[in-house]
C-alpha cells in the first residue's frame, strides 16, 4: 500500500502546487464512498460556484479507502457508508492526537429485486423470509415463510437462486447489517460487513451485475441500491418493518427511518438506522457520512469545511431528491448544526 501513499503524497503536492499557482484558491481533498459520489460532486460543484476561491476534490475509491486515507492523513476529509468502528477511531486518535467526527449527509436504501416466472405481483418480504433465503434455509419460492406475507399470489415450487454483490461495498454492508439485526443466526455467522463469507448464492459485480443476473435467471432474488432501481425502473419488493407495517422504499419512508432513531441518536452520529422502529420507516436504510478531523492545522481549511457542511445539510439537501437520495430529517439537521462547532 506504499503506492497508495505515494499517490496520496503526489496528490497533495499537486494540490499544493495548484494552490500556489491559482493564487489564493483553497484546495481541499477528500476520498471515500462511491455511493454518495453523484451528490457530492454536485455539491462541490455548486459550492464552488458560490465561492470560487474554494475547490473541493473528491476521489470515490470506496469507504474502506476513505477511512484509510483520512487516517493516513493523505486527504483533508474522508467519506464512508458505514461508521468507523472503535478500533479505527483509536487508530486515528493514536496517530493524530485528536478524534474524527461523523456527519450524516444524505440517506440511501437497499431494495430486494426478484425474477419469478409467472409472478407479476409486487412481493412483500418479512425479515425472517429474507434472512432464511440468504442463509440458504428457505430454498423454494412456495415456502410458507414467503407465502404467508403474500396471500393471493401463487408462488411456484421452484428453487430460489440467491444473488449477492461480489464487490465489497456499502450496499452489502447495509443489507447484512439489517439481516444481522433481524436474525440472531445471521449475526453469529456470517455476520455483517461489506465483504462477508456468503452461505449461499452467486456474486454479481456492481448493481448492474446483480440486476443482470436476476433479470436473466428465472427464480432468482438479489438486492440493489434504491437509486439504481429507481433510475433503471426495476420493479422491487416491499419489506415488513419493525412495527409490522408493509412498506415500500421511497424518499419519505427512508427519511422516516432516520427520523425514527433521531431521538435516541448518539452525539457522534455513529448509528445504524436499519430496522428503524418508526411506523412508516423503511427498514433497510442507511446514512452516509463525511469523516471530518476534529482538529485542523490549517484554519482556512477548517473554516471552509465548516461552511461547506453547514450548507450541504441545509440548502444542499434540495439537490438530493433529483439525484434519488432521501434528504435528512429536520431533527438530524438540527443536531448536526450544533455538532459543527466541535470542529477546531
Amino acid at each position: 500500500m506504499r503506492m497508495k501513499r505515494f499517490a496520496g503524497v503526489a496528490l497533495v503536492v499537486l494540490a499544493a502546487a495548484g494552490a500556489i499557482w491559482a493564487q489564493g484558491t483553497l484546495q481541499i481533498t477528500g476520498e471515500g464512498a462511491t455511493f454518495p459520489y453523484p451528490i457530492y460532486s454536485k455539491w462541490f460543484d455548486e459550492y464552488h460556484k458560490k465561492f470560487s476561491n474554494l475547490e473541493i476534490n473528491y476521489q470515490s475509491q470506496g469507504s474502506g479507502a476513505g477511512i484509510k486515507a483520512v487516517t493516513d492523513g493523505t486527504v483533508d476529509f474522508g467519506a464512508s457508508d458505514g461508521p468507523m468502528n472503535d478500533d479505527q477511531l483509536k487508530a486515528y486518535s493514536d496517530k493524530h492526537g485528536s478524534g474524527i467526527l461523523h456527519f450524516p449527509t444524505v440517506l440511501g436504501a437497499v431494495v430486494p429485486i426478484y425474477n419469478i416466472p409467472g409472478v407479476n405481483a409486487a412481493l412483500t418480504f418479512t425479515p425472517e423470509a429474507l434472512a432464511g433465503i440468504y442463509l440458504g434455509r428457505i430454498t423454494k419460492w412456495s415456502d410458507p415463510a414467503i407465502a404467508s406475507a403474500n396471500s393471493g399470489v401463487k408462488l411456484p415450487a421452484t428453487d430460489i437462486v440467491v444473488v449477492h454483490r461480489s464487490d465489497g461495498i456499502s450496499t452489502s454492508y447495509i443489507f447484512t447489517d439489517y439481516l444481522a439485526k433481524v436474525s440472531p443466526d445471521w449475526a453469529t455467522k456470517p455476520g455483517k460487513g461489506a465483504s462477508i463469507s456468503w452461505p449461499v448464492g452467486l456474486g454479481g459485480k456492481g448493481n448492474e451485475g446483480v440486476s443482470g443476473l436476476v433479470k436473466q435467471t428465472p427464480g432468482s432474488i438479489g438486492y440493489v441500491e434504491l437509486i439504481y432501481a429507481v433510475q433503471t425502473k426495476i420493479e422491487y419488493g416491499s419489506m415488513k418493518n419493525a412495527a409490522g407495517t408493509v412498506i415500500k422504499a421511497d424518499f419519505a419512508s427512508v427519511t422516516a427511518a432516520a427520523a425514527g432513531v433521531a431521538k435516541t441518536m448518539p452525539d457522534d452520529f455513529r448509528v445504524s438506522i436499519t430496522n428503524s422502529p418508526g411506523k412508516n420507516a423503511y427498514p433497510i436504510s442507511s446514512f452516509t457520512w463525511l469523516l471530518i478531523p476534529a482538529k485542523f492545522t490549517d484554519s482556512h481549511k477548517r473554516d471552509a469545511m465548516k461552511g461547506f457542511i453547514k450548507w450541504a445539510i441545509t440548502d444542499g439537501q434540495s439537490f438530493a431528491e433529483n439525484l434519488s437520495y432521501a434528504p435528512l430529517p429536520k431533527e438530524v439537521v438540527a443536531k448536526e448544526l450544533k455538532a459543527i462547532d466541535k470542529i477546531q
Binding site: G62, S166, D167, G168, P190, S197, K205, G212, Q216, T217
Partner: protein
C-alpha cells in the same frame, strides 16, 4: 525474436576505442541511455515483488503455508485462504486454452499458408482489431449474450449428454468456470492467431519447396514441415495467451459467479485471484484483510512466474528436439 546477425553488436567494437572517444561520437551515450531503459524494466519488476512481499507481512506470518491450502475466505472472522481463487484462476485459464489453442492455430495456418494474400490481410486486420477491444466489452458480451446461451442451450445439452462425468453436473446457472473460460478464449484467440501467423510466414520458402519437391501435398508440407519448424514461436504465442488469461480481471468477474468454491464441475460458479482483488480492495478494512489481498497478488505473480518458467523450459526442450530432428 528478430535478432539478426548482420548488425554488428556494440560490445566488441566499442571495446577497442577509448571511453572518451566513444563518448564523443555518441555511441557510449546511446548505450548508457538504452541500457538504463532496459534495466528500468527489471527494476520495476523487482520493486513490484518487493512491495507485494513487504505489503503482505502480516498475512504471510499469520497463515504461512496454510494460505495456499485453506479454502475459507471470511473477512469477518479474519480467516483467509487462497485455494479456491488459485483453483478458479487455473481452471478458467486452462479451459480457455483448450478452446483457443486449436482454433487459434488452425486459423493461423489458414491465414499464413492457405488463404490468398488479400483475404489473409483483411482477416488479420479484423483479428488485430479484436485484440484491441477493452476487456469490459468482452465482459458485457459474456453477460448479455454468452451467459443466456449457456444457461438455455449449452449447459442443459452438456448435462444431458455428458452428465455422467463429474465435469458437467449441478444446476445450470449460465455463469461459472466454463463460461469464464469461453469468454477468455474469445479474448486470447487474437493473440495466438496474430503471433502464430507471423511465425508461420517467417518460415523460409525453401523449406516448403523442398517438401513439395519431394512429392508431398500442400497440406503435408504445411503440417509436417512448416508447423514443426515454427513450433517454438507458436508455443510462445500460447504462453502469451496463458499470461493474459491468468491475469484477466474484468471480463472474468462479470461471468464467473464470484463465489469461492472448489468444484469438479465446470458449470459451478467460482472465483479468480484477479477478480477477488478487484472486487474487495476498495472496501478492505483492517490490516490483515488488506494484506491477505496483497498476498493474493503475490500468489498470482508467483503463478505467472512458474508457468512462464515452465513455458521457457518447454520451448528449450522442443527446440533441442527440433534441431536434432533437423540433423538426422
Amino acid at each position: 525474436m528478430a535478432a539478426t546477425s548482420t548488425t554488428p553488436s556494440a560490445g566488441p567494437i566499442s571495446g577497442s576505442r577509448s571511453f572518451l572517444s566513444r563518448l564523443r561520437e555518441g555511441d557510449e551515450i546511446a548505450r548508457i541511455i538504452t541500457s538504463l531503459f532496459a534495466f528500468s524494466v527489471v527494476l520495476v519488476t523487482l520493486l513490484l515483488v518487493f512491495e507485494l512481499w513487504h505489503g503482505s507481512v502480516l498475512s504471510r506470518h499469520k497463515f504461512g503455508f496454510h494460505f495456499f491450502v485453506t479454502s475459507i475466505w471470511d473477512p469477518n472472522s479474519g480467516d483467509f485462504g487462497a485455494l479456491p481463487f488459485i483453483y478458479g484462476t487455473l481452471v478458467t485459464a486452462f479451459v480457455s486454452l483448450a478452446i483457443a489453442v486449436p482454433l487459434g492455430i488452425g486459423a493461423a495456418i489458414f491465414l499464413a499458408e492457405l488463404a490468398p494474400q488479400n483475404i489473409s490481410d483483411t482477416l488479420q486486420f479484423f483479428i488485430d482489431l479484436l485484440a484491441a477491444v477493452p476487456s469490459v466489452i468482452y465482459g458485457l458480451l459474456g453477460v448479455f449474450i454468452i451467459v443466456p446461451i449457456m444457461r438455455e442451450d449449452i449447459q442443459p445439452f452438456l448435462k444431458s449428454t455428458l452428465g455422467f462425468l463429474p465435469l458437467f453436473t449441478g444446476p445450470a446457472y449460465g455463469i461459472g468456470f466454463l463460461t469464464a473460460g469461453i469468454v477468455l478464449a474469445i479474448m486470447v484467440i487474437p493473440y495466438i492467431v496474430s503471433v502464430s501467423r507471423e511465425v508461420l510466414l517467417s518460415v523460409p520458402r525453401d523449406q516448403r519447396e523442398a517438401a513439395l519437391a519431394l512429392g508431398s501435398t500442400r497440406w503435408e508440407s504445411t503440417w509436417k514441415v512448416v508447423v514443426p519448424f515454427a513450433r517454438t514461436g507458436i508455443m510462445g504465442s500460447i504462453f502469451l495467451a496463458l499470461a493474459r488469461a491468468l491475469g484477466e480481471t474484468m471480463a472474468v468477474t462479470m461471468v464467473i459467479g464470484n463465489t469461492p468454491t472448489i468444484s469438479a464441475s465446470l458449470l459451478s460458479p467460482g472465483y479468480s485471484i484477479a477478480a477477488v482483488i478487484a472486487n474487495e480492495l476498495g472496501e478492505a478494512t483492517g490490516d490483515l484483510y488488506l494484506q491477505s489481498l496483497v498476498e493474493l497478488g503475490l500468489v498470482l505473480f508467483l503463478l505467472t512466474f512458474i508457468l512462464n518458467g515452465l513455458a521457457r523450459l518447454l520451448i528449450v526442450l522442443t527446440a533441442q528436439r527440433g534441431s536434432e530432428m533437423g540433423r538426422t
